[in-house]
């Protein structure tokens, strides 16, 4: 019996759904509007794709979501959990209290009390001072009385030695049974404030994720899909089971961006390339390295600085719905967009707004399979000088952004994906080749549906205390273990990437080791 997978990706204007067979062949795809609550849009897309495909519900083995639940909750400060914050590191770290530079409204909606206690480690793994268990106990009791939704724990140099963070989890299991305890060394890497911020945001998002998963699970049940396993796309282009992601919801916060980049790889099998994902309002330009999105050093989420693993992308306000304007003899395209109203407001649909899509239609670059769309309108109503200048401007902006995302000057393969990607030409400056694969408009949902289960572990070691081989082995084993926790079939888990980053100026040959392990879904 063939097993099918459904992939769903939530974009800012559209929610896309695809059904793939075991060989990752596209069986059916649907586009619907994204809804403000996200969940009902997902359910619409799911229903449409199931009905359209004719695949029996019994044969759907997994539903894989790339969702914006978490980023929306953080940006809108809605439904977030109340977090008890524990920082371990005194007497160090007292100079900057947790959440100091957070936007005040976000801090107020998350903060359920901050406690700073003695403990933590130096980069050598030696304790800074003795761990203060009494203060921890008091803090946890106070959190219990206040009824916190989750606890976020960050200890100094826990990426070298997580001992004190683990102690909090042990004590909390006794004092705060059932309350999620998030440990920073499981979230991100070096940089205490950035890691602490990510840990607190993760803790605050757990409630949101629980609610989303419950609603989606109920919807699956209503559709006769209760047997299908649920997976959620992660920021790094991998996926993880619902049971795992409910512990680490922050790993989904910008997953849809990675889905497109990963989808570009799945559609082309080109592991190293630049990917431009053009939607209705924005184009995200990122890079594929060995089949995964290249990652950025730090990411701001809802106005908070974090160091979670996330794709390195340039977002530009130039896409299918971007409005074309002439001001003081200058032609401007974007960043304002008509978004989903393109099909009412675009010139080619009889509307009164010149958009980037109208320019590409007038130029004869693309055609649109929509009986309501008449490119003749664009050709007759937009003066040809404007078509030429606006199109030249669009290409210039895209080429410039492609150049900015590159790390070296040599021309690279450029893969174009996304619903608006048909508007781009077949050649671009700085591109060795420009590829717009078949099903490019569904790259995001295909990326979600085909993702492997993955986990990343980052730890710091001193190569004077442990050999390089042992260090890499240690990190690899931990990464593999976490990939299995995330829902990978143990027999398929393998190390996908090992990266060593020397830490300059630190004696003892201190190195950060980062290992990514991936495996197939356990279905």
């Amino acid at each position: 019996m063939t097993k099918y997978k459904v992939g769903i990706d939530v974009g800012s204007t559209h929610t896309d759904a695809v059904i793939l067979d075991e060989g990752n062949n596209l069986i059916h795809a649907e586009k619907t509007m994204t809804t403000p609550d996200v969940t009902s849009g997902i359910i619409n897309a799911l229903r449409l794709v199931l009905e359209g495909s004719g695949v029996s519900r019994d044969d759907i083995a997994a539903v894989m979501f790339g969702t914006t639940h978490i980023i929306n909750a953080i940006v809108q400060r809605r439904n977030l959990g109340k977090v008890g914050v524990v920082r371990i590191g005194l007497p160090a770290t007292e100079a900057i209290e947790p959440m100091l530079d957070w936007p005040i409204d976000l801090r107020d909606s998350v903060n359920a009390g901050i406690t700073m206690i003695r403990g933590g480690h130096d980069y050598t793994g030696e304790p800074i001072t003795q761990f203060d268990e009494d203060s921890l106990r008091k803090a946890l009791e106070a959190f219990r009385n206040r009824g916190v939704d989750a606890v976020a724990v960050t200890s100094v140099w826990s990426v070298v030695n997580p001992e004190h963070e683990v102690k909090v989890r042990e004590l909390a299991s006794e004092l705060l049974p059932g309350v999620p305890i998030v440990l920073s060394h499981e979230i991100s890497s070096i940089g205490l404030l950035e890691r602490e911020n990510a840990t607190i945001l993760n803790a605050a998002s757990i409630k949101v994720m629980v609610n989303a998963i419950n609603a989606l699970r109920e919807a699956l049940r209503d559709m006769g899909l209760e047997h299908a396993k649920m997976f959620f796309a992660q920021n790094d282009g991998t996926t993880a089971s619902a049971d795992y992601i409910v512990r680490f919801p922050i790993f989904t916060v910008i997953a849809p961006i990675s889905n497109s980049i990963r989808g570009a790889y799945v559609l082309t099998k080109i592991p190293n390339a630049i990917v431009a994902d053009t939607g209705g309002a924005t184009t995200n330009i990122g890079a594929l390295i060995s089949g995964y999105p290249r990652e950025a050093l730090e990411v701001e989420i809802g106005g908070v600085r974090t160091n979670i693993r996330a794709p390195d992308v340039i977002a530009i306000g130039l896409a299918g719905g971007s409005i074309v304007k002439v001001k003081d003899g200058d032609v401007k395209v974007g960043p304002v967009s008509v978004g989903y109203r393109l099909i009412y407001e675009g010139i080619s649909w009889g509307g009164g707004t010149v958009t980037a899509t109208d320019i590409a239609l007038a130029k004869g670059i693309m055609s649109i399979d929509d009986p309501m769309c008449n490119p003749e309108l664009a050709r007759s109503k937009i003066p040809s000088w404007l078509v030429e200048r606006a199109y030249a401007k669009m290409i210039e902006i895209l080429e410039d952004s492609i150049d900015r995302i590159k790390l070296k000057p040599e021309p690279e393969t450029v893969i174009l994906v996304g619903g608006g990607s048909a508007m781009w030409p077949k050649t671009l400056r700085g591109a060795r080749e420009v590829i717009r694969p078949e099903h490019a408009q569904y790259a995001n949902a295909i990326g979600a549906a085909t993702a492997l289960v993955g986990a990343v572990v980052e730890k710091a070691y001193s190569y004077e205390q442990i050999t390089r081989e042992r260090a890499i082995q240690d990190a690899s084993e931990e990464a593999k273990k976490r990939a299995v926790e995330a829902g990978a079939d143990p027999s398929t888990v393998e190390v996908a990437e090992v990266e060593e980053i020397a830490m300059p100026y630190l004696p003892g040959n201190a190195v950060k080791v980062r290992v990514k392990a991936v495996g197939k879904l356990k279905l």
Binding site: T93, D122, T129, I190, R404, K406, P409, Y505
Partner: protein, 366 residues
Amino acid sequence: MVRYHLYKTDVEDLVVGAAVLGTGGGGDPYIGKLMVIQELERGRRIEIVSIDEVDGDAFIVPVAAMGTPVVLMEKIPSGKEALYSLRLLEGYFNRRVDFISPIEAGGVNSTIPLVVGAERGLPVIDADGMGRAFPELQMVTFHIHGIKATPMAISDERGNAAILDTMDNYWAERIARAITVKYGGSAWIAIYPTFGKLYRDAAIKGSISLAIEVGKALREAKLAGRNPVDALLDVTHGFELFKGKIIDVQRFNIGGFARGEAVIEGLDEYKGSRLMIRFQNENLVAIKDNEVVASVPDLITVLDSESGKPITTERLRYGLRVLVISMPCNEKWRTSKGLETVGPRYFGYDIDYVPIEVRVKRVVKP
């Protein structure tokens, strides 16, 4: 203004200015900024005084952090470390400190003295010992004016503290560096203790105000839609060296220092030219089409050409659109002792130092 207090906006301006004066190094001032803002949030005040307010017999102690930027990012300070050093030095001299001073105008050490001043309720002098950022303890104008680095005190967050008395300022650097490692990679020093009479001759005046002015100029230019770089050059008496796109960055880890070079391909009026910047933590030399156009101790700073924001050497990468500016260093660095301490030859470049304003006339704009 001879005495004034700092507010949050001043602090935000100051760290931007400190990054410009940091010439690509000096550490990310983000942590330092948050430390100062935390002091203000705790209701403490930061008082800045002009160097003219300092009596000849006033006891002045510069304070600073030393160590590895990555440790500062992970083991955030307690904020009390430098106080232990101050207290130890006060005990040694049996005299209370009257004024705090920065040793550095660029990077994270532009903010550390403000935290100490706030914690102790002591005024901070609007001056420093570099007028920019440099990597070693003897690279200060106090050194070239014959002030001894020691007795100095060096502390950590646990309250470990040591007094050093060394045979010269180079030994102070070496021993302090070794202790820093034992402390866990970062240490907090009170150094070059001196009296008003000597300090007034040796220090570089007005560095805190200058950093604030630079940050403010960038902020206000941006708000008003003016070119931020022009505003910046006005305030610093600097020169535009080059505009272009970074096409190559190479890094070598030699002797524990982050050395490297960046090549920038010219845009607009610089089209057809290339500028190479050599750096070791800080930007040291700028070479345009095989001709040196700026060198230490003059300041060389790389800015994002759109935002005018300074870019540190560790963040230089292919594809960035940048503008390179150079600003004249303080006259004290242009003496023979100054150049011996921080001239191009000290950093291993066999070239003569020519002041930027002279070079600019000669090569940049014929």
